[in-house]
């Protein structure tokens, strides 16, 4: 009886073919001599055969497959849209590079905003003189609307031959000058 209890426990493993040759032989010997165990074995074997032969299928709701495929596709697209770590690093490197170039450009522009330091210095003087004139702190040394007369006045005062333009707009009038 004790062996029958043991065989009943081992029977399912035997049916799955999990035992080695020695254990298999031992179970087969017992089943051939024990009608009770042999009957139980046959019933279990029949049940297993029925399970294997039966096709259990469950109908899925219509549209479920389409819905799953759609969600999978969306997930794929989101993954594609997300920049990878490598891409993010490349973008960061590009931003830093552009910022560096812009910084150098601004530095150069601040240091040499008018092409040369001479131009910058002269523009400062010209702007200052203009402001002084507006404040009436820089009086005209010659007051004349005659261009030739103004040029003559400058002749011995500047070390170049002054060429003065006139203006097409007759509302622009020459007032004079100074050095």
């Amino acid at each position: 009886m004790k062996e029958c209890e043991e065989i009943k426990v081992l029977m399912d493993i035997y049916l799955d073919g999990e035992f080695g040759e020695e254990d298999t032989q031992r179970i087969q010997n017992h089943l051939s001599t024990c009608s009770g165990c042999s009957e139980i074995f046959e019933k279990r074997q029949q049940f297993l055969n029925l399970l294997k032969e039966s096709e259990i299928r469950k109908e899925v709701p219509p549209g479920l497959e389409l819905s799953i495929r759609s969600k999978l596709r969306k997930t794929e697209l989101q993954q594609q849209k997300k920049p990878s770590f490598l891409k993010a690093r490349s973008i960061l490197a590009m931003v830093l590079l552009l910022a560096g170039i812009a910084g150098v450009g601004l530095y150069v522009l601040q240091k040499f905003p008018f092409g040369s330091e001479e131009d910058a210095d002269f523009l400062r003087v010209v702007t200052r003189d203009y402001k002084d004139y507006l404040r009436q702190e820089l009086p005209l040394e010659i007051q004349s609307s005659d261009r030739e007369e103004v040029i003559r006045w400058f002749k011995n005062k500047v070390n170049f031959n002054l060429i003065l333009p006139s203006f097409r707009d007759r509302n622009i009038k020459l007032l004079g000058g100074g050095d």
């Binding site: 131009d119 523009l123 509302n171 009038k173 000058g177």
Partner: protein, 79 residues
Amino acid sequence: MAFVIYELNGNPISLAVTRAWRPKIEETAGNTPEDIDFDFYHMNGYTGVYWNYRGLVYYLVSDLPEKVNIHQLLDWSAS
């Protein structure tokens, strides 16, 4: 430096002239007015324009309330 003042409708226009110091500019001494390149600048709230012509550098500053491109009204025919 020659400092010359013009006036448009009561608004002073300053034209400063000096000799060009850069050889590059000296070489362009024979330029015609049509070849002039104007450079604009902004300093201390004033907008100006400067250019080179026949070995001289011109700096024009104005404080006109309306936007007038004075340099476009220059007439070099008598120079």
